[in-house]
């Protein structure tokens, strides 16, 4: 039962063009930087990327967009990316926008083996178009399905060789649910440790959900909006 890979190139080796990928992160926070770089290097194309955001022009998923490797983007907010806009307006890429909570919940139910979930978000909006609507307790709910993806690429702070993960601060975001939702889940961590070094009570993703793990390198961890307050 070896889950440990040497690096991102090895861990993503079998990802082919046309694959459906989930990518953890919110904005540039908690994104699988090493896996994205390896996908760029490998040059796979026609990817479907399920991720809350699409990165910025020159970082995160934006790097895949630059190389036109993305066929379809499934996201909740993509407003930080001019190249994205250009490809979308030129019909070079499809985009499906999903309310953020619905996106998160669809990941969760995927990892919990639940085929669909009723949600309020989007009722009466464009998001509802073509979707089944049910009424309960006088409220309308949209029926939203679990995801069917090939790989989940997630980023954690620490992980052990059995695949248990700990995430840090708001870099948690979508990473645990996407880890749980992946048919094949590839986790990159800032620090890979031996079993026993993580407290079982404070593991955010149990190893059963993680198929491959590696210690990433050269994390840039770029800040999108550096906001500070004045010294007191």
């Amino acid at each position: 039962m070896n889950k440990v890979f040497a690096n991102a190139e090895e861990a993503i080796k079998d990802i082919q063009s046309g694959a459906v990928l989930m990518l953890g992160g919110f904005g540039l926070c908690g994104i699988p930087e090493n896996c994205i770089a390896a996908l760029v290097k490998k040059g796979v194309s026609n990817l479907t990327c399920i991720s809350n955001n699409a990165g910025v022009d020159d970082f995160g998923i934006g790097l895949l967009l630059q190389k036109k490797q993305v066929k379809k983007m499934i996201a909740s907010y993509v407003g930080e990316n001019a190249e994205f806009e250009r490809q979308l307006l030129h019909g070079e890429m499809e985009v499906q926008l999903i309310p953020q909570g619905t996106l998160a919940t669809r990941c969760l139910i995927t990892g919990y083996g639940i085929p669909f979930v009723p949600v309020l978000a989007g009722v009466g909006t464009e998001v509802a178009e073509g979707k089944e609507v049910v009424v309960r307790n006088g409220h309308q709910y949209l029926i939203e399905d679990a995801f069917d993806s090939d790989y989940a690429l997630v980023k954690a702070w620490k992980g052990d060789t059995m695949g248990n993960l700990i995430v840090k601060d708001t870099a948690r975001n979508f990473n645990p649910m996407m880890a749980m939702a992946g048919k094949i889940t590839i986790a990159e961590v800032e620090e890979l440790v031996q079993p026993g070094e993580l407290d079982p009570n404070f593991v955010h993703v149990p190893g059963i959900y993680v198929h491959r793990i590696f210690q990433g390198t050269n994390y840039e961890k770029r800040i999108e909006q550096r906001t500070v307050r004045k010294p007191e």
Partner: protein, 220 residues
């Protein structure tokens, strides 16, 4: 004279009650945090997964791993809790957040809101807005009363794609405070120096002036 953004935020802050869990959207809503009345303890929820959001960090202490829903670097406070996005929207959906303040492009006199898309221009996406408006118990919109061309943004019905139906309970604009009821926009306060006539002229949706209407105060 119409309110500036800081004053809109200051007025909204009076709506906060002790013990509230509050989600503040991007833009004017974020400024509300600067005017929380003395003695009122609220906990700010950021929908990317943080309860008990603190102020911006001091320079040099910012962390790429600790941001708010606007992707700004923030801090935690004693008693903060961090969780994943599924739980974050779970608590929103379950009505645990007492108040949501967000911006809008348009609000209709039945409480419909549009704030995520302008067809023909860039589609940025709804982010968490649709989830928030669908689920929050209490939604206050902070907005300019008119667009730059002077057209009312308080409408009989939204012209832009809807974010949520019949969900806005109150609007605080640069001109006044408006409850949304069966009577449409009910003006309960006007900004200092703003006349009822101006409000009437600039409100395209159904407008009722409350009998108790009075000039806005910024502290209780």
């Amino acid at each position: 004279m119409a309110l500036n953004k800081e004053q809109i935020a200051q007025r909204i802050a009076l709506e906060l009650k002790d013990g509230y869990y509050v989600n503040l959207g991007i833009g004017i809503p974020t400024l509300v945090a600067n005017y929380i009345p003395h003695g009122v303890n609220v906990v700010l929820q950021s929908e990317n997964g943080l309860l008990g959001m603190g102020p911006f960090p001091f320079a040099g202490e910012e962390s790429a791993d600790l941001i708010n829903a606007g992707k700004q670097t923030v801090t935690t406070l004693p008693g903060s809790a961090i969780f994943d996005s599924a739980m974050s929207f779970g608590m929103i959906r379950a009505g645990k957040v007492d108040l949501t303040v967000l911006g809008a492009m348009e609000v209709a006199d039945n409480g419909d809101i549009a704030n995520w898309k302008i067809p023909g221009k860039m589609v940025k996406g709804m982010g968490g807005a649709m989830d928030l408006v669908a689920a929050a118990k209490n939604i206050i919109v902070a907005m300019q009363h008119t667009d730059k061309a002077g057209n009312s943004k308080l409408l009989p019905q939204c012209s832009l794609p809807i974010t949520g139906l019949k969900c806005v309970k109150k609007v605080v604009s640069d001109l006044g405070v408006f409850d949304i009821t069966d009577q449409g926009f009910v003006c309960i306060e006007y900004a200092p120096g703003v006349t009822i006539e101006e409000i009437k002229a600039k409100t395209a949706g159904k407008l009722t002036i409350a009998e108790s209407v009075h000039e806005m105060k910024f502290s209780e």
